[in-house]
Symmetry: C2
Subunit: 426 residues, 2 copies
Amino acid sequence: MTINIALLGFGTVASGIPFLLKENGEKITAQAGTDIQIAKFLVRDDAEKQALLAQGHQYEFVTDITAILNDDTIDIVIELMGRIEPAKTFITQALQAKKHVVTANKDLLAVHGSDLLKVATDNGVVLYYEAAVTGGIPILRTLANSYTADKITKILGVVNGTSNFMMTKMVDEGWTYDEALAEASRLGYAESDPTNDVDGIDAAYKIVILSQFAFGMTIKFEDVRHEGIRNITPEDVKLAQKLGFVIKLVGEIVERPSGIYAEVVPTFLPKNHQLATVNGVMNAVFVESIGINEAMFYGPGAGQKPTATSVVADVIELAKGIDKGEVLPAFNTFTRETVYATKEDLVDKYYFAIETEDKAGQLLHLAELFHAENVSFEQVFQENIGDDRASIAIISHKMDLNQFDSLVEKISNLEGFTLRNTIKVI
Amino acid sequence: MTINIALLGFGTVASGIPFLLKENGEKITAQAGTDIQIAKFLVRDDAEKQALLAQGHQYEFVTDITAILNDDTIDIVIELMGRIEPAKTFITQALQAKKHVVTANKDLLAVHGSDLLKVATDNGVVLYYEAAVTGGIPILRTLANSYTADKITKILGVVNGTSNFMMTKMVDEGWTYDEALAEASRLGYAESDPTNDVDGIDAAYKIVILSQFAFGMTIKFEDVRHEGIRNITPEDVKLAQKLGFVIKLVGEIVERPSGIYAEVVPTFLPKNHQLATVNGVMNAVFVESIGINEAMFYGPGAGQKPTATSVVADVIELAKGIDKGEVLPAFNTFTRETVYATKEDLVDKYYFAIETEDKAGQLLHLAELFHAENVSFEQVFQENIGDDRASIAIISHKMDLNQFDSLVEKISNLEGFTLRNTIKVI
């Protein structure tokens, strides 16, 4: 038997797939129990087709999706075009044509995943997407297959390589945000418009998908609070170090008694936290649960070969089942009603960076404010920063979101005090 | 439908299973597609049975394995007795009675795994054992299901919690081996005879099993060179730190052009290596491959709930298939002929700890020896240690095992020089 696949798009990741099928062909065939063969490649237009043929690529390139949809020999369609359209339409049409689909398209899955999964179910086929979250880390299949007996209580993820590269430079080298962005651009890690990476949007997409696998709940993308790394200053980084922390952009999903909550925000991580050593463009997902307790899954978040490896692993899973004539299981079978946590139930420590006149009694004013909110200090660091000004950094004990909002308002309104930044502390 | 399971043994891990089935019952039933129920518990004798009943446990305790073997309502047998016998006999009998078996017994699997797997195949049932390697880290299923498209070139594992706890104390606190062992014993991490943990035997068992999943080859236990942590001195730890490393007991499996090689040895890890921050009783498996490149899987290596979680995840996988009437796939389907690497193909850096008289020309003697073997220095650190004696620590560049053996012999025979220790450097 041979399983025929069609690829949509001939970009970086897509061109890694023929590499793997050739380089690891023997193992892949043995694992799948069948040959896997690329039947067709969908490219943009005739110009791209001619260019690829001229480069010596010997695939059947087509420019019209119907050539794939109507080809009954094709079992699996792999979408690697990215963005929303035409990927969404093509995936929908492929599912309707009873073809299984593999994709790495996190933007699409985070926003339209539920709709696409319904189309798949209605047509008796499945949609797999291991590569959509942290490209090379096999986290989704692990959550789906190895956490079946466990109850996850918290996910912490460093899931955006570009921003993590920048934060690593800001922490290790003391660079400013702008210096780190310039280097990320120079190295090709940051796009010309870096918004999705530096503002936490890309990470929030991944958090939506992780919430489905880890908690069985579908948090809407617009319900994931996201705040990027633009406002992190070298002062924050330095103060973090003095207080025993490193700053990273962390996506967090937590289940509390009242429900679930997710956000992507700059976060103080204790230096000895396993996530604190995840540096450069590497990604990691830290999982807290009642059974396994603490585990971390670390690896490349992107890149041609890591992403292609995850895509082909999905294809092999599908091929195994097709070969045996089995009904293929959905990629994720864990679903519960989505219930959001209340603000009272969201309890964290925070870092407050405050500037004020360097004179007696200033810290007392702050202590009174915190005391009135029933929140105590865990660490305080004060220093003179010149011009008779003092910098006061506070690591608080735990407070709920209402207390936090109230404290932020009160400090902001305190005459002679500037609240320069607040950052969540793990 | 209800899947009935029988448990052999009522130790720490076994008693974690009823906890999970109760605490996560709803999720487990949903994931398995069926109820999972404990039908019988095998205990040692009537005294243990009476004691457990007196404690209020309301299971059907049996003292004779035939009560389980002859019970046609039992689909899955879970062996959690440990050691070789009677576990080996009971597992064999259960497989012959056409019952699927789940076990966490690494000693047994490392030595008799191939035989047991053959019995399973011959009887049309399967043997699953996720919990046998690094209890709470779902590494075996990940290697089996997510590395299907990849080719693994190296595995590095910190896979023994007791010795890692001790090495962490020796590195972070400067403790001696004996001090660390005393604390590990006090905390219940080390058994009264700590041989298996501190001499790398337990880790070697796990390395055998990992070699099967990662490389498709079965390295014999006696072919895994193992050397423990007894000979690591505070001087070695201090020198490692000066040279930019931490020492850990690391299991390594590497595939070279000529074949495969595995060993468990104390290892210098660069401070920024992801494994270097795996501390205390925690475990991690670092995987290098041509597709994903570098990934690490971190978590608890033992413990009641982590291990029970992995066991129940295996049970759920089995229950899913039984419920659907499918032929269950073997736990690991990746097999190749086992070929061992040649000594010439095993190339590593090494740390040499040497003591000699503190006088002119001593380093020159060593430099000449290394030069004669065509091996160069990467780092050298020399200091006077009193009594006109000098300590010389050398980190070499890469050499093969023949060069290493030759250098060790030559330095040992060099008059006036003592070769205090050699340690592999990653």
